[in-house]
């Protein structure tokens, strides 16, 4: 039978210090050597100190045993960030030929209470790699659970992307992105994931095949919430490196116009419009009229061309980045 990987199920009241455990009676604890003059002194709790001293003894002896596995679980419970303990635990798991599915359940429990710990996620990846494609969907369920609590957890997203690309499970990923963006359309991580799916999933035919429907989806998201940095960037990203197609797609200039008709100070709409003008957009009469009306509100720009006028408006609506817009103006102004 594979050894049980956890000893942390005991209640706090039942905790027995390692020095009083019969199974560790033959172990001589090794205290931490901080050197004679610690540069950054650290106060240790006494229970922590004792567990660490016993762990160190087994670690230095290279003892790959069931009691070593139990002790690593205890150290991890006290400080899941200690990477040496995780290293040692993997050596012990390999030596004991332990049940890795059970180990995955153990690490999942720890991950739920420490979702931003590099070591834990790396341990999960190590296990998933050994367990293979069969665990893909279970891993996706787990990251869903973590992302339901914090939808922007970088570690969970990295793990999810790794599992997708190495072990698979793409089938419901676009639907999952839809769901997350329905819950919070400002979630940049979900927009990033959406881009991964449409560019890398083997099921959707890639960016070019997805572009048309994605433009519609994104335009809808922008019109519902125009003050969203992520959706505007995504829209432009759909035409990355294809400026001629970006300008030719009337839906792009239309969404800028629609948003500006409601709110002529929307920085993202003005900014995309500037990009379009810079790469050769011939503005429609409607668009020209809208910008002319905005110009009239500001006598300084009365004689300026469209792009210069937009820069001038941006300098006023986005004062924190006034230097950026001033620079931008120099790139669009006719040379004197």
């Amino acid at each position: 039978m594979a050894p049980s990987s956890s000893s942390s199920s005991e209640g706090v009241d039942d905790w027995v210090p390692p020095s009083r455990r019969p199974e560790l009676a033959d172990v001589v604890p090794v205290p931490q050597d901080d050197g004679p003059h610690p540069v950054v002194p650290i106060a240790y709790r006494s229970d922590f100190r004792e567990v660490m001293d016993y762990f160190r003894a087994l670690y230095f002896a290279g003892e790959r045993s069931v009691r070593a596995l139990h002790l690593t679980a205890e150290v991890i419970g006290l400080n899941p960030g200690n990477y040496t303990v995780w290293h040692f635990r993997r050596l012990v798991l390999e030596a004991l030929d332990a049940d890795l599915q059970e180990e995955m359940n153990f690490v999942d429990q720890i991950a739920e209470s420490n979702p931003k710990n590099y070591q834990i996620w790396h341990h999960k990846r190590w296990l998933a790699e050994k367990l293979g494609p069969d665990v893909a969907n279970k891993e996706h369920e787990f990251t869903r659970k973590i992302l339901a609590i914090d939808a922007k957890n970088y570690h969970a997203w990295s793990h999810r992307q790794w599992v997708l690309q190495v072990l698979g499970g793409w089938e419901t990923e676009l639907q999952y992105c839809n769901q997350l963006l329905e819950e919070d359309v400002f979630n940049n991580s979900a927009w990033n994931q959406r881009y991964l799916v449409i560019t890398r999933s083997p099921l959707h035919g890639g960016l070019v095949a997805m572009r048309d429907s994605e433009v519609d989806y994104t335009v809808g998201a922008i019109l519902a919430n125009p003050q969203n940095e992520s959706s505007w960037r995504y829209l432009k990203g759909l035409y990355k490196g294809e400026n001629n197609l970006l300008v030719a797609d009337e839906r792009i200039s239309d969404v800028c116009l629609k948003v500006l008709k409601n709110d002529w100070t929307c920085v993202f709409a003005l900014s995309l419009l500037l990009d379009l003008l810079r790469i050769g957009l011939q503005p429609s009469d409607d668009l020209r009229g809208t910008i002319e009306a905005m110009k009239n509100a500001d006598p300084e720009t009365a004689d300026a061309d469209l792009a210069t006028a937009i820069c001038s408006i941006l300098q006023k609506c986005d004062p924190l980045r006034v230097n950026y817009w001033s620079w931008f103006m120099t790139t669009v102004s006719p040379q004197i």
Binding site: P38, I42, W157
Partner: protein, 310 residues
């Protein structure tokens, strides 16, 4: 600033500092604390020999790497911190430079990426760490620089930023690592400076502080990650520096010193370092200038690269 008092207390007191979870990253803590002291012209407040003796007790002569503390396994995260601290004290002579360079360069993978240690976690953070370590040791030739650069470029996103791996979301910390690695290897031409510059300056929030990703809260640590990246791509004038400096200064504990992540939170050594480093990048009076790529005071970096080598 009250930072100095906070740091000096930290160096002397054995209790009331951080929690036990600091133990395994103590070498990083030493780098944050000592670099901050140097930026404030107070590195001589610590005994260099004691520090170097302790640093070297974290060294693994078999592998050539450093652990985060005495008796801990080696990892590139702590190896770079050790090398940087030795640079502060101008004591790279205590290192077996070839051995350390072999350790970090041996972690390059076939696709050009780097693992953090023998267990193989891959992240663009480690690309930066290895490249920075090797450059400080004058041993960049030990890796395949072209492949390392190609891997970083493969992590570039539609917003001009970079993530931890190909397809990973842009994040200001990862962007620093990728831009820093490209700067050190003379490969900044792979960056769309205007596109990335706009994304980075969009990180400035109304109150003046910087966040690391869209819709996240401002945090003092991004003062370093975002500003250093903006400087390396020559776009730092696009943000409002006065407002950012005010935000950082508002995060100070005015009674006991030190800097926190955002106003009124508890101070720690990590945010103290990033706050002071951010002020340094904005040429704040009394703070030494910092090199944005090597994350060391400029005079230290100049000493390494301008000194005539034997």
């Amino acid at each position: 600033m009250g930072c100095l008092r906070f740091l000096l207390l930290l160096m002397q007191k054995k209790d009331s500092f951080e929690s036990l979870v600091m133990e395994h990253i103590r070498l990083n803590g030493a780098y944050w604390g000592l670099t901050t002291l140097d930026l404030l012209h107070k590195l001589d407040a610590v005994d260099a020999d004691e520090v170097i003796q302790w640093i070297m007790s974290c060294y693994h002569p078999e592998s050539g790497g450093f652990g985060g503390n005495v008796g801990h396994d080696p990892h590139v995260l702590y190896t770079l911190s050790a090398v940087q601290v030795l640079c502060l004290f101008d004591r790279l002579d205590v290192l077996d430079v070839d051995k350390v360079a072999d350790y970090v360069s041996g972690l390059q993978n076939e696709d050009g990426s780097f693992s953090g240690d023998i267990w193989g976690e891959v992240d663009t953070r480690f690309s930066y760490i290895v490249i920075c370590t090797l450059a400080l040791l004058h041993h960049l030739h030990k890796i395949n620089v072209q492949k390392a650069v190609d891997y970083i470029v493969s992590c570039k996103n539609l917003d001009g930023g970079f993530g931890a791996m190909p397809g990973g979301e842009s994040h200001a910390g990862q962007i620093f690592c990728c831009v820093g690695a490209l700067a050190i290897t003379g490969s900044l031409h792979h960056i769309d400076r205007d596109l990335l510059g706009w994304w980075l300056c969009e990180r400035q929030c109304k109150e003046g502080g910087l966040n690391g990703r869209p819709e996240k809260l401002a945090d003092v640590c991004y003062s370093w990650w975002v500003l250093s990246s903006l400087i390396m791509i020559d776009r730092v004038h696009w943000i409002d520096k006065d407002k950012l400096a005010k935000f950082i200064l508002n995060c100070q504990d005015k009674e006991n010193g030190g800097i926190s992540d955002r106003p009124d939170n508890a101070v720690d050594i990590y945010h103290t370092y990033f706050g002071v480093a951010g002020l340094s990048l904005m040429e704040y009076p009394g703070v030494k200038p910092m090199d944005p790529a090597y994350a060391l005071p400029l005079d230290v970096v100049n000493r390494i690269f301008l000194r005539k080598r034997d």
